[in-house]
């Protein structure tokens, strides 16, 4: 999504849920926009934590020095593989805290998706998921429990909500649809504790 769509999402989060707590996020993004080269954004919603957590991921060229310093990085990070985000911000609205941004580098590796790589009981669920939503590849982070499935074709939000794997998101179904609007889910991710759905245009 472009900047307008990103700001509409953040405004919706603020106006519908978090009011003052979301203000800090909007201010941070505004300050970064002046520093970051033009790129695209994706929003992520956490199934377990509903609207108490959101992720914004930035896809674009390398970070200039000014942006790296503003983010508190000692040196601009190395390049992640093509198609991966540069930065991810996770905002915990419950505590009104912005986690330190996640900066992606060469630790990410994409490989063909094989359900058996995930073991029981996850494998059968992912197999059923992939039968309905073909998966382009899997991203497994070495040394962590985190993984992501990047979809061959994006899904509109209601089509995602109908899936077994979206059970954690279903309770906020209508509300989340109001937020996601015409954004399309392109990635299903697991952060070691909960599932995330990442969506862009």
């Amino acid at each position: 999504m472009n900047l307008k769509q990103r700001d509409d999402c953040v405004r919706a989060l603020r106006d519908c849920f978090h009011k003052e707590r979301a203000k800090g996020l909007q201010e941070l993004l505004s300050s970064l926009d002046a520093l970051l080269p033009a790129g695209r954004w994706e929003i992520g919603l956490c199934g377990a934590r509903g609207f108490s957590a959101a992720a914004l991921r930035y896809f674009g060229p390398s970070l200039p020095d000014g942006a790296a310093r503003a983010l508190g990085l000692s040196a601009p990070p190395g390049a992640p593989p093509a198609g991966f985000p540069r930065l991810a911000f996770v905002w915990d609205f419950a505590g009104a805290a912005l986690d330190a941004p996640r900066v992606y580098g060469a630790e990410l590796k994409a490989r063909p998706f094989r359900p058996r790589d995930f073991g029981a009981p996850v494998a059968p669920a992912l197999e059923a998921f992939a039968a309905l939503c073909p998966v382009h590849d899997a991203v497994i982070e070495r040394g962590s429990a985190r993984w992501a499935l990047r979809l061959a074709e994006t899904l509109c939000w209601p089509d995602f909500l109908r899936l077994d794997i979206a059970a954690a998101f279903a309770s906020a179904g209508g509300q989340s649809a109001l937020l996601m609007r015409d954004l399309r889910v392109g990635e299903l991710a697991f952060d070691g504790e909960a599932l995330w759905a990442h969506a862009g245009s």
Partner: protein, 465 residues
């Protein structure tokens, strides 16, 4: 076999496909039974007294055996069996579990006039049911859980209990429901009422009633109460035989047991059916045969769909997200729920519509029935819409859905002669329900705590600022 959608959307009668799906169900049941018998090889010696009945049932093929293999008692028995597998059962529990099955074997032997020697067990209510017939033996209540020897043959039969051999009246056991208990010397032969040949009203069978968990069961306070319950259902079924013979044929083929329920709130009707008790419909009493027909058709359609879904899932697996608006509920439902609801209420609406066309009713009842049909048409359309917007279907499922839309068109056609104001009122009621529980014109559910503070462009009408 290629499934044809029409007979599954509406009542197609006892056609080749119906028989094929039934055979699949029987095949699955017998495979599970085989597994249960295998598990008995490691059971204590006493348990093996019950093996003859199990082996006999498996060994005999034919229509009567297959009919019993689709009895709700066996459905539920296999459910209990799968739950108990691997668990350490007490001798008493194992005896009860294996003894309950013997009623099915005994009913088969009676019908075939075969010889059978096996053990039986008295259920916790002091009875032994010949499942698939209306008959049961009543023992003294304190004999609950006791085993007995059962011997059946072409001309003679007996029960040996507490060292006493009691002759069984085989002619009565092979006949229709008894009007009064038949004493057999400490034990009595009694019968459940029948609402139609082969369909019993069961307020006493421990195995079947054990599976009825959603609503309170009703024990008839008097014989006349039970007779009235059965009589209204009998009338409902005979009306159905005339108005919808295909539906009637299927319903009476699949349904074996009707369980009476309490209706504590005095709703029009309380009813339920269970995926592990296929062939049992549970419902409260009503004096109106058409209301009872509506309830029977509703629950039967759920059972029919569960049979169908075991051979074709209709919706591709993996779509269990509970996020959708249902015209029948205030809470979010799954797509499967919309599918079952649309199917059941489409058939209910069509049947009531047909009844209105063919019968004379008083003005007040006629209006009520029209309201019912018009409401069902709105609800079915909403459910089909939600399914069509979001569901992914099997090849058969796509044909099934299109057929449901076509039959909805037939239902709309049937309401053309209804008062326009009545139709408009039901449309408005449906829209109001959607306004409260759906996310605008999407098919998504909107929770009670939904917040909509999203900014929108101002909309100006002439004369407004």
């Amino acid at each position: 076999m290629r499934l044809e959608e029409r007979g599954w959307v509406l009542g197609g009668g006892l056609c080749a496909q119906w028989a094929w799906v039934h055979r699949e169900r029987v095949r699955q049941a017998l495979a599970e039974l085989r597994g249960a018998i295998k598990g008995l090889s490691r059971a204590p010696a006493g348990a093996r007294d019950f093996l003859p009945g199990l082996n006999y049932f498996l060994s005999r093929s034919g229509p009567r055996r297959d009919q019993l293999a689709a009895h709700p008692a066996l459905d539920y028995w296999l459910h209990l069996e799968s739950r108990q597998r691997g668990a350490r059962l007490s001798d008493a529990d194992r005896r009860l579990h294996l003894g309950l099955f013997q009623g099915l074997a005994a009913a088969l032997a009676l019908a075939r006039r075969d010889g059978l020697k096996t053990a039986g067990a008295v259920d916790p209510d002091g009875r032994f049911f010949f499942y698939g017939t209306p008959h049961y033996l009543s023992f003294p209540r304190e004999s609950a859980g006791e085993a007995f020897a059962l011997e059946l043959g072409a001309r003679k039969g007996s029960v040996t209990w507490k060292g006493r051999r009691l002759a069984l009246p085989l002619k009565a056991l092979r006949g229709p429901a008894l009007k009064a208990p038949l004493p057999l010397g400490g034990v009595a032969l009694e019968s459940l009422r029948e609402a139609a040949p082969g369909i019993v009203v069961d307020d006493a069978g421990w195995l079947v009633l054990h599976g009825v968990t959603m609503h309170g069961r009703r024990r008839f306070a008097s014989a006349s109460e039970g007779d009235r319950f059965a009589a209204v259902l009998s009338r409902a079924l005979s009306d159905m035989a005339e108005r919808a013979p295909g539906l009637h044929a299927e319903l009476t083929d699949l349904t074996r047991v009707l369980v009476p329920l309490e209706n504590p709130q005095g709703h029009g009707s309380v009813s339920s059916s269970y995926v592990n008790l296929r062939g049992a419909i549970c419902l409260s009493h009503a004096e109106d045969p058409l209301l009872q027909a509506e309830t029977l058709i509703h629950e039967f359609c759920h059972m029919k769909m569960n049979q169908l879904l075991s051979v074709d899932p209709v919706l591709l697996p993996g779509q269990g997200g509970q996020a959708f608006y249902s015209p029948w509920r205030a809470d979010a439902r799954r797509l499967r729920g919309l599918l079952l609801g649309a199917h059941a209420f489409l058939n209910v609406g069509l049947y009531i519509g047909r009844s209105l066309e063919r019968e004379e009713y008083g003005e007040e009842q006629e209006i009520e029935l029209m309201v019912n049909v018009a409401r069902r048409a709105e609800q079915v359309e909403t459910a089909l819409r939600g399914l069509s917007l979001y569901g992914s279907f099997t090849e058969f499922g796509r044909r099934f859905m299109l057929r449901m839309w076509r039959e909805l068109a037939a239902l709309r056609q049937a309401t053309l002669w209804y008062p326009p104001a009545l139709l408009e009122e039901q449309r408005a009621a449906a829209l109001e329900h959607r306004r409260r529980h759906a996310l605008a014109d999407t098919g998504l559910h909107k929770a009670a705590d939904f917040v909509d503070a999203v900014r929108r462009a101002p909309f100006l009408t002439p004369g407004e600022r």
